[in-house]
Symmetry: C2
Subunit: 409 residues, 2 copies
């Protein structure tokens, strides 16, 4: 029988021999002479006690049948002990639930104390970039402002743009009929800016430039500027970006050189890209929905957070360092705090919000430490969904991109 | 060769015999003596001309090789003709694109003139309701405000609530371990209000009532009140509502009498329910994403728009009446304006917004006319996705609900 003790002035600890042995073996708590958070060095020799974090104690009570003795030798239940900590740690239950799930899978998670900076760019992926060469266009597109579409009637220009650069939509989608090239707003802006396309407003009959189109769209469609910046960033590096509407994302992406039809077949995208503006706050459930659709259609989900500047980054609190499993001989065994941690674990619930800045800051922190970022999302039934975020390098880009993968530990 | 004519003062018409015959056979335009929109009765005998709407003319130019002769006998292309109409019809291109897709599938769409009110409650579905009987609870839940969760430690109460009413989560999701009953915020509010559950704040140790919890949550999580109202509405009628997080929606729904485990098996939901607050404006692409996830997991998607009052409804413009196919003998033939129309078609693009009020108003208009509402969404590649919205009746409810189905014409 595990026995743990609580004193509101000191914290939670364990001191009987049998319990100490069990806790040590399973990497609960920390051996120290003084309570957690005091000034004594963590590496001081073991002083006969193991001090526990609140989530460790709650887990032991809930799943290891531990009994917790509080002031006046009274046994304390889950709620009583948790209540003693909730002022200091308001998000206690969500954090506990993340910890509970990870431990319950036989894996170890610890609060972050000191960890050295990462030894490498762990988990980075480099995408292939290729300079885009666009023709100087001698064509006119007519811009329908309230529809956010433009139309090029010149068939030879339309065919070239569509078949060689996959810009615009020639005729009907996935059919070989119709001769008009329809440009969505980003394509019109991009061609006006980089291929001297003349764009004329259907309303005024006057020429308008790239900036004017973007300003107009920005008034109607929030974050149009951020969408366009990401669009331009990838397009200039040779990637093909088309709408990701059918896959629940802003864009689907094809690698440089992609054309709509190869050997009489329509090619399939394998990546979708979603833009998360830095000043946008999103419900976790909404954020997750976008990843979920991409996962459902077996595409890699990429996230771009544009416009992040050095001064934007904040110190957003992580929750745990998480360890997973490693191979020893022919067996997979769990990693312990003696191994390098794998993940910077952040726990959130479906009804909380996350902002672009907070996410970018967490990603940067993880990256600095050489870790991957692991998002642990508690739904209202306390079930957990995990997403791993890995940095992607788009050569020549000033922005940062991340692949997000659904993960089952 | 189809020949159509345009005069900025009159409109678009056709007058040569061969063209008239073709147009009439294919239900383009309207036979009248005077231009469209004038006061002459539409049923006046044919005066030798067929007058065309702009989208009809653009379609004929683009796909039927029609030539359009304008002022000074000059031939006019798509852009020139469209530009002449864009001031009067700013969303012309999106509307045209919806029309283009429907006609291109061999189906007929017409602008709405006069149509009689519907003869029946076409397409309504009635859901089974059953009064909920809850016990008076003699238990206490501890509420963790910033986590939005509550915990009941009393195992017999927890077991009863979970197993008989499927309220809360007993232990670990889909596992038979753990004894705490975890309540999400709506469950705690619901039990405090309808089963006299005592809820005590972990922070203050004081009892708080249902309204106080809801007020607190509303400050942290937008539209919490609307979510709760829908939750309560269905729960009181015997339905089981659990989080729809894994399916990208607010709730998953089970019909009255559902229990988490039947014959040792976890039961599966077949419906998800999403709440669309009347004052929320959503990007079509975001709105569609929620439907898409539900469709991907083969669940029926239900939409609830709470709090609509008589005075909230607006006259939101529809685009077309749409006809489909009917069986004649052993063949499917297309319906014509001589048949009753099926759909009230509304065209939008992925970068436009729709609000709860607008959608509820459109649904009401369709319902009054005895039609189903058909949403035609143009993505940035001008491909169209169709959703059909059908009314659902939840007996005893003051709110309106709709099933949304992805449709391929």
């Amino acid at each position: 029988m595990l026995e743990i003790r609580f004193d509101p002035k000191k914290g939670i600890w364990c001191e009987d021999e049998e319990s100490l042995e069990k806790l040590e073996k399973n990497h609960f708590g920390e051996k120290r002479e003084t309570p957690l958070g005091s000034n004594v060095k963590a590496d001081k020799p073991f002083g006969g006690k193991i001090w526990l974090e609140i989530e460790e104690a709650l887990f032991l009570i809930n799943f290891q049948n531990a009994s917790c003795i509080g002031p006046g030798k009274k046994e304390m239940g889950f709620n009583e002990l948790a209540s003693a900590y909730v002022e200091k740690e308001p998000r206690l239950f969500v954090r506990y639930n993340a910890y509970r799930d990870w431990r319950d899978r036989g894996l170890i998670a610890k609060r972050m104390k000191t960890i050295k900076k990462g030894q490498g760019k762990k988990g980075w992926k480099r995408y292939p970039a290729k300079d885009l060469k666009l023709p100087k266009l001698k064509a006119t597109a007519v811009w329908y402002p309230d529809s956010l579409f433009s139309v090029i009637e010149d068939e030879s220009v339309g065919k070239k743009l569509f078949e060689e650069h996959w810009i615009g939509q020639l005729g009907i989608y996935k059919q070989d009929r119709g001769k008009l090239l329809k440009l969505e707003f980003m394509e019109a802006i991009f061609l006006a800016k980089h291929a001297k396309l003349k764009v004329v407003s259907a309303e005024t009959g006057k020429e308008i430039n790239a900036d004017q189109i973007l300003d107009f769209v920005t008034e109607k469609r929030e974050y149009a500027k951020q969408l366009y910046e990401i669009y331009e960033d990838w397009r200039l590096k040779g990637f093909v970006l088309k709408t990701g509407f059918k896959f629940g994302s802003h864009f689907r992406i094809y690698f440089p050189g992609a054309k709509p039809i190869v050997d009489d077949k329509w090619i399939h995208s394998r990546h979708v890209l979603h833009v998360f503006p830095k000043d946008q706050k999103m419900l976790i459930s909404e954020w997750s929905r976008a990843v979920r659709v991409a996962h459902g259609v077996k595409k890699t989900f990429l996230l771009g957070i544009p416009e992040m500047k050095q001064e934007d980054y904040v110190d957003y609190p992580e929750d745990f360092l998480a360890y997973r499993r490693k191979k020893e001989g022919n067996n997979w065994i769990r990693e312990t705090p003696d191994d390098r941690p794998r993940y910077l674990l952040v726990s959130v619930s479906e009804d909380e919000h996350i902002g672009g800045i907070e996410l970018a800051s967490l990603l940067k922190k993880a990256q600095t430490l050489g870790l991957e970022l692991l998002l642990s999302i508690s739904d209202r039934e306390t079930a957990i969904t995990y997403y791993v975020l890995k940095r992607v390098v788009l050569p020549g880009s000033g922005y940062e991109y991340y692949e997000i993968e659904w993960m089952k530990p």
